[in-house]
């Protein structure tokens, strides 16, 4: 399709066969990676009887939202959990950006004694798994009266996001040419104006990457949410899913579960498709590090 007609017919047979083999193998892999997502989505829109009779079918004659309606009766209702997840994700994004952007600026454009030591300590926290400090965090949140509290969870997610975000923002600010800053300074711009009018626009793609990782990681995080939230009204979507999947009196409502899975995964997929290049930038930044 991407190869213009005249070249494709001019290609040697071997190369054309190679292209066909590439497409065939790629499609086989694509089926493996896509089908679970499509099945889940398709079954979330099937009436219960149909889902039970033919779960592998992609289209059903009767199209229905009954699974989503039943999800309203799960605990506090799925929109409460979606609301909690949105609040947590939004809080994590805003705080992570507000805290990591100045820090990245500080690391990129200022020098003072002990600075590199601070940087090494910040980066070293990336090597230490957060799972190993959950027990004391539980106590700290209890002392701060932030246990079973969405804001408490946001504080923890922000901390886990910081090393990566600071690293990203430092690199983003490093890319701003020194001459540009000097020129602005000669024109009488203040430190604050330089940050806001010159640095931030150039560093904006870095901010997008930081925000996207903050969203995905806080939206999908499971273990900390499981430990720190105990009140049914405060659960996030992943915790709701587990509650649905463990069933009531041993009976699992698979239709409602697929509706819940769809509600949880679709925002991530849409965001990824829209902002793919910022995501890959974050990954490759980690890879060259």
């Amino acid at each position: 399709m991407n190869v213009p007609k005249h070249t494709s017919s001019a290609l040697p047979v071997g190369e054309r066969l190679g292209f066909v083999a590439f497409v065939a193998v790629s499609i086989l892999f694509a089926i493996f990676f896509l089908m679970p997502i499509i099945w889940s989505f398709a079954n979330s829109l099937k009436p219960a009887a149909e889902a039970l009779a033919n779960p592998a079918a992609l289209f059903s004659k009767a199209f229905s939202f009954e699974n989503y309606r039943r999800l309203e009766n799960v605990g506090a209702g799925w929109y409460v959990y979606a609301g909690n997840s949105i609040l947590i994700a939004f809080g994590t994004i805003v705080l992570t950006v507000l805290v990591s952007v100045p820090a990245g600026y500080g690391f990129a454009k200022f020098r003072f004694p002990g600075q590199s030591l601070i940087f090494v300590v910040v980066m070293a926290t990336m090597m230490i798994p957060f799972q190993s400090i959950l027990t004391p965090l539980f106590l700290i949140l209890k002392i701060l009266r932030l246990q079973n509290n969405l804001f408490g969870l946001v504080l923890i997610y922000v901390t886990f996001q910081l090393p990566f975000s600071i690293f990203m923002m430092r690199n983003a600010f490093d890319a701003v040419p020194r001459a540009l800053i000097e020129a602005a300074r000669i024109d009488g711009a203040s430190q604050w104006t330089i940050l806001r009018r010159i640095m931030l626009p150039i560093a904006l793609p870095g901010v997008a990457t930081v925000a996207m990782f903050a969203f995905l990681n806080s939206w999908n995080e499971f273990l900390a949410a499981l430990i720190f939230l105990s009140d049914q009204n405060k659960f996030t979507l992943p915790i709701m899913l587990v509650n649905v999947s463990s069933g009531i009196y041993g009976i699992i409502d698979w239709g409602a579960l697929q509706a819940g899975v769809t509600v949880t995964m679709v925002p991530c997929i849409i965001l990824f498709l829209l902002l793919q290049r910022y995501y890959v930038r974050g990954l490759t930044a980690g890879a060259v590090k």
């Binding site: 694509a30 679970p36 997502i37 100045p102 200022f110 910040v122 230490i128 004391p136 910081l162 698979w254």
Partner: protein
């Protein structure tokens, strides 16, 4: 007054221009919020983990200093050793499985075609889905009553009765590994792809001109030059698999007969199910030491340039 203000700014501009770096200590001010977060919610908890591990620390009631008692108990805790062994087994198998899928994928989509880009996006898609959603999704796929796998297998006459993979150890572990490969192979693919794409084109061309065939080029150029990407992919896969929790908590629920309780799952049970926070801290610290050791060994290998080995 306006002119005075102008003069002072002008003078401070001169000062800043003459200095090699702008006001250094202002940078510390910019970092203070981050330092507060990392100190309060990372470094202090880290020190507390060590401190608590020397105590008998119930959720309510008095804490008591017990010295190394928690660590001694840890050595004799057969369930813990079993879960550590299981975590290592899982890590080895899942890392191998991911590499075996991700490397061919990376080679497959490393083409300057728009179509290859579309497939890259498709293979990567499950990565952005959380482990919670992915695990519950696969629970449904494999359930014997209304699952897709059961329908396909029974419907095509491949088996008589829908399989119940979660009722014995190896099928349960295989299903989890399959789920994790589905969810994370795209991530490793991208890491390996950056390695593949960093190989200079002229090196390949030169080898081609010198008459090296595809296999030789692959063995002598591609593989050695990708060493760092391979090491990075290994570090990331091994450390994240050692910390696996969600998939075993959700899909296998530790069963059958507690055989799939991972290391983090054990910590969760000790700290937040039995509320033995001191013992949980001792386990956490032991796990932390193991993980930091693994990643520092691997990172040392990575620092070496390919030509040194």
């Amino acid at each position: 007054m306006g002119s005075v203000a102008k003069e002072t700014t002008a003078r401070s501009d001169d000062l800043e221009l003459n200095k090699p770096e702008p006001e250094g200590w202002l940078g510390l001010l910019f970092m203070l919020p981050s330092i507060a977060f990392i100190t309060g919610l990372f470094i202090i908890p880290l020190i507390m983990t060590i401190w608590m591990s020397f105590h008998n620390w119930p959720l309510l009631g008095r804490t008591k200093f017990v010295g190394l008692a928690n660590y001694i108990e840890l050595l004799g805790d057969s369930q813990l050793w079993h879960s550590l062994g299981f975590t290592l087994l899982y890590t080895g198998l899942v890392t191998a499985a991911i590499m075996m899928v991700a490397f061919p994928l990376a080679l497959l989509v490393d083409r300057p075609l728009r179509l290859a880009g579309v497939f890259r996006t498709i293979y990567f898609m499950p990565v952005v889905i959380g482990f919670g959603a992915a695990s519950t999704l696969w629970m449904w796929l494999l359930n014997p009553d209304s699952g897709v796998f059961a329908q396909i297998l029974v419907g095509n006459g491949l088996v008589d009765k829908a399989p119940r993979p979660l009722e014995s150890f190896w099928p349960a572990l295989s299903i989890v590994i399959l789920m994790v490969v589905w969810k994370t192979a795209g991530f490793t693919m991208v890491i390996l792809l950056t390695g593949l794409q960093s190989i200079p084109g002229d090196v390949m061309e030169a080898a081609k001109i010198d008459g090296a065939n595809a296999l030789t080029r692959f063995r002598r150029i591609t593989l050695p030059l990708m060493r760092n990407s391979f090491m990075l992919a290994l570090v990331l896969n091994i450390t994240s698999s050692m910390l696996a929790f969600d998939q075993f908590f959700i899909i296998t629920q530790g069963g059958p007969e507690n055989s799939t309780i991972s290391a983090v799952f054990s910590i969760y049970l000790a700290s937040f199910s039995s509320y033995r926070l001191g013992y949980g801290s001792a386990m956490s610290f032991a796990l932390l030491v193991v993980l930091v050791a693994i990643s520092s060994i691997q990172l040392t290998f990575m620092r070496q340039r390919p030509e040194e080995s």
